[in-house]
């Protein structure tokens, strides 16, 4: 019922639906059908009532390129059951009107500390009401790596957080430690020889039953898993020399390295790309080049972009992996999207920027089958923002983990008072007169002025939306459908 007006409006407006988006519509419709037709679940219907969450009217960014405007996401029992335009909303579903807002997959921090209030066995020691967890959610992070454990920021829960207990298989291969390098090479070679011998034996076995299975003795298990493609080794490397050597090692033995740091990766991006590497970078890290060397070096704002354009998958992390409430702000986990924004500033395509903190991060951690994008069947880890995720002005309004709203900006004390949502008690009762403030000084005030129409703070470049007052010029990055602001907020 609620969807109908939206659909009509959709037809009348210029459409920018991407192809990828329409691909999801079919499975969405299919997926919802069998569950609805199931009459045998009478007993569980009570349970189901609380399990269905619907985000209605938002602009869905799937994280894979698809963008669906004024669309609906249906979440049942923690999984994305359907999304698109023809979603049947059950009567008893919890419906959140997110019109004018954007829905993204929850962000993934591939390194963190202090978010879970403890380390070690999270099931028995997590503090799920930890302030840092709430703050990380406010930054849009719904999954983080703590130690070597991938866990969800499932606020209020002590069970079901852990997604994967071995995030990284680290390997040290540094130019500064030739003996260590030799050992790694020997291990890999031993494993490669073993695999070759094993395959030969498998072939021989068919004709010769007497054939002897090659001995596993002395074969490094880790190397074996790497060469079999079960894990991807993670290296810490920044210098050009190290990166080159890792790239060559990877190509020699045929595995895809993950490289943490990768500061001078832009100088050897083609080699890394050929090696199928994934780079975990911090776009704002700064280090001058070693002046004793003639070749290029040091950090570059274009690092992420250069790597990406050479086929290296890019994951972004901030310089500090914790939540720091002191010192110079902006380099901790609270600013993960901003960090990705800086990669875009250096030339990384916007979609790659979004992917660098969602699906690419999930891939590196081996959890992309569950999280990292908005796809039917995946975990409902979603964030709802009031604007472009990668813009510094944007706030996360809701964070959802496993289909449960675990963060609501208006319900927490941290940012509730800044540009409160119109339905909030904190919202100003009266509309402010635009003439009272110089538009150049107070662009942030926009959403307040707009409150009756829409909740986006990204108030558009042109004034067609509300139509009443000429709006000050805004950040061009924010350009969006001008009619967005005309979407009615109430339901």
């Amino acid at each position: 019922m609620h969807l109908r007006p939206n659909q009509q409006r959709r037809a009348s407006r210029p459409m920018r639906l991407l192809v990828a988006a329409s691909l999801f519509l079919a499975p969405a419709a299919l997926a919802s059908a069998p569950l609805d037709d199931e009459p045998a679940k009478e007993a569980e219907s009570e349970e189901d009532k609380e399990e269905v969450l619907v985000l209605k009217g938002g602009e869905i960014h799937t994280g894979l390129g698809g963008v669906l405007r004024d669309a609906t996401i249906l979440v049942r029992e923690g999984k994305i059951e359907a999304f698109g335009y023809d979603v049947d909303v059950p009567e008893d579903a919890e419906v959140v009107d997110v019109s004018g807002m954007r829905v993204y997959p929850g962000l993934i921090a591939v390194g963190s500390f202090g978010l879970f209030g403890s380390s070690g066995n999270l099931d028995d020691s997590v503090d799920p009401y930890n302030q840092n967890m709430t703050l990380a959610l406010s930054a849009g992070i719904t999954t983080a790596v703590d130690g070597n454990t991938v866990a969800k920021l499932k606020r209020g829960h002590v069970q079901g957080l852990v997604v994967n207990t071995s995030a990284f298989e680290s390997l040290s291969y540094s130019n500064g430690n030739p003996q260590g390098q030799l050992k790694v090479e020997q291990d890999l070679k031993g494993a490669a020889d073993y695999i070759r011998a094993y395959r030969a034996w498998e072939d021989e076995k068919k004709s010769n039953k007497e054939a002897k299975e090659p001995s596993k003795k002395g074969v490094d298990q880790k190397s074996l898993r790497i060469l079999r493609g079960e894990v991807r080794p993670c290296f810490n490397a920044d210098s050009r020399t190290d990166l080159l050597e890792i790239a060559h090692l990877a190509q020699r033995f045929g595995f895809r390295p993950i490289i943490n740091g990768c500061r001078e990766g832009w100088t050897v991006a083609d080699e890394l790309g050929r090696a199928g590497a994934t780079a975990i970078v911090t776009p704002r890290s700064r280090r001058p080049k070693d002046e004793s060397l003639l070749r290029e070096g040091g950090s570059s704002i274009e690092n992420a972009a250069t790597l990406y354009s050479h086929g290296v998958n890019v994951v972004v992390v901030p310089a500090s992996r914790g939540i720091s409430l002191g010192g110079i702000v902006g380099t901790d986990l609270l600013h993960l999207p901003v960090e990705a924004g800086f990669a875009i500033r250096g030339g990384l395509p916007e979609l790659a920027g979004l992917r660098s903190i969602t699906i690419e991060a999930a891939r590196v951690l081996g959890v992309d089958y569950r999280i990292g994008s908005i796809e039917v069947g995946k975990d409902a880890d979603l964030i709802v923002t009031d604007g472009d995720l990668l813009h510094y002005q944007t706030f996360v309004q809701w964070a959802i983990v496993d289909g449960e709203i675990v963060y609501d900006k208006q319900a927490e004390m941290f940012f509730a008072h800044i540009r409160p949502r119109p339905e909030s008690a904190l919202a100003p009762a009266e509309r402010m007169d635009a003439g009272e403030e110089s538009p150049a000084d107070a662009p942030e005030e926009e959403p307040v002025e707009e409150t009756p129409e829409g909740e986006t703070p990204d108030g558009e470049t042109s004034g067609e939306g509300g139509g009443e007052e000429p709006q000050p010029s805004e950040d061009p990055e924010e350009s969006e459908d001008p009619e967005e602001s005309a979407t009615t907020a109430g339901n």
Binding site: S125, V126, D127, P128, Y129, G156, H157, V158, Q159, M413
Partner: protein, 407 residues
């Protein structure tokens, strides 16, 4: 000094001490806090052998019964019940699971217990020291020449300490697991015994010699019995939690196990338990906390957690802010501050009288003033929660044991 105008003696003209010593007497009180939150005005309380026999408004008093008539401003309240104290006990405990330990074994009738009576506490729950599962608490009356005389009821609750760590959760889980293991062992033994019996029967069918054996189940580890008691409802648990997270871990550790449990939430430092106030309220369990305003951790935002939990539906029990004489002395004033800060006054009265008694399973004997309850009562010069009010007298089991009327 105060007594002479107060006592309206009967025609028998007994000596001033007579009502106290006699088996039967009447208290005429202009205002009585009943303990359940209600107030009775112009109450007449008939006490016999330390128990309230009859109680009502303006009841006619039979001739010859000694009467203690209170002054117009005076207020009667049930004796305070402090269910969670180690005052008067000493020593530390262990960090593991010792649910069979009884705090009553530590009980010693020292002079320290006077501090309870002087401040209106007529029933005390004393718990064993230690982390983990340190043992079972005992309800005592803070007066007596021997520990036997002091004990009101033993094993009133099992103390459990829950933290955000695996050992605390293991203590609880393992306790029930051991109980299961024991049941399994008993079942196996019985099966074995039955088989042996059947075999013996068939063997000895011809020979008529009949030896009747009875099955004796194997002895349970003493640490197991309390967990059986928990399951069977003979024992309740008081779980001390550190923060909201340890509540979540507690619920996780309990799982599907069903037993009666209540919460001890220390407010002596800033704590984030408001996250789970609604959940706890829904459970409706007893919550033991201090009458203190706390801050949201890391901020300067004040919260009246006792009031929040009470409103959410939890049965509030208030404890002195410190387990010391100073804490006992300022207790009622502290409670008054909480009332000023939004705690319902009736709830506050319940939280220091009826609720703590009911928590220890003594609600049918004390904690309120009504027929059949112990005559444990306090006489105040005015509203008990006003700072200038004096505690005029303390009556324990029908006898004045402290205050100006104690003569």
């Amino acid at each position: 000094m105060i007594l002479s105008p107060l006592l309206l003696l009967g025609p028998m003209a007994a000596a001033p001490a007579a009502p106290v010593q006699g088996d039967l007497f009447v208290i005429k009180a202009p205002r009585v806090e009943l303990g359940d939150g209600e107030v009775m005005e112009h109450a007449v309380i008939l006490v016999e052998d330390g128990e309230i026999v009859t109680m009502g408004q303006d009841l006619p008093i039979e001739r010859g019964i000694p009467v203690v008539e209170l002054d117009e401003g005076q207020v009667v309240m049930p004796g305070l019940v402090n269910p969670y104290s180690r005052y008067g006990m000493s020593g530390g405990g262990y960090n593991d699971s010792r649910p069979q330990v009884m705090a009553s074994a530590e009980l010693y009738p020292s002079a320290a217990y006077k501090a309870f009576l002087e401040n209106g506490v007529t029933t005390v729950g004393q718990y064993p020291a230690g982390q983990g599962i340190p043992g079972q608490a005992v309800a005592v009356r803070p007066r007596g020449d021997s520990s036997e005389e002091m004990i009101v009821e033993d094993g009133v609750y099992l103390k459990v300490v829950m933290g955000n760590n695996s050992s605390a959760k293991r203590n609880l889980r393992d306790g029930f697991k051991k109980a299961d293991d024991h049941l399994e062992k008993v079942a196996k033994e019985r099966e074995k015994f039955d088989k042996a019996q059947a075999k013996a029967k068939s063997d000895k069918k011809k020979s008529s010699s009949k030896s009747k054996a009875t099955f004796t189940p194997p002895q349970a580890d003493p640490r197991v019995q309390p967990f059986f008691d928990l399951r069977e409802g003979k024992l309740r648990a008081l779980v001390s939690i550190r923060n909201a997270a340890s509540y979540a871990h507690l619920v996780d550790a309990i799982g599907d196990e069903e037993f009666e449990w209540h919460l001890r939430i220390p407010l002596t430092r800033d704590i984030d338990v408001f996250h789970v106030a609604d959940e706890v309220g829904e459970r409706g369990c007893f919550v033991l906390m201090e009458p203190l305003i706390t801050l949201v951790p890391g901020t300067l935002r004040q919260r009246n957690l006792p009031a929040e939990f009470e409103r959410a539906g939890a049965k509030l029990v208030l404890l002195p802010r410190s387990d010391s004489k100073a804490g006992f002395e300022s207790f009622l004033e502290d409670v008054g501050v909480m009332i000023g800060a939004g705690l319902d006054r009736k709830a506050a009265v319940r939280a220091i009288t009826h609720n703590p008694a009911a928590f220890m399973g003594l609600g049918d004997r004390l904690g309120t003033l009504s027929e059949g309850k112990r005559a444990n009562l306090l006489i105040f010069s005015g509203d008990p929660f006003q700072p200038d009010t004096k505690l005029d007298a303390v009556m324990l089991d029908g006898k004045f044991v402290s205050g100006d009327m104690d003569q």
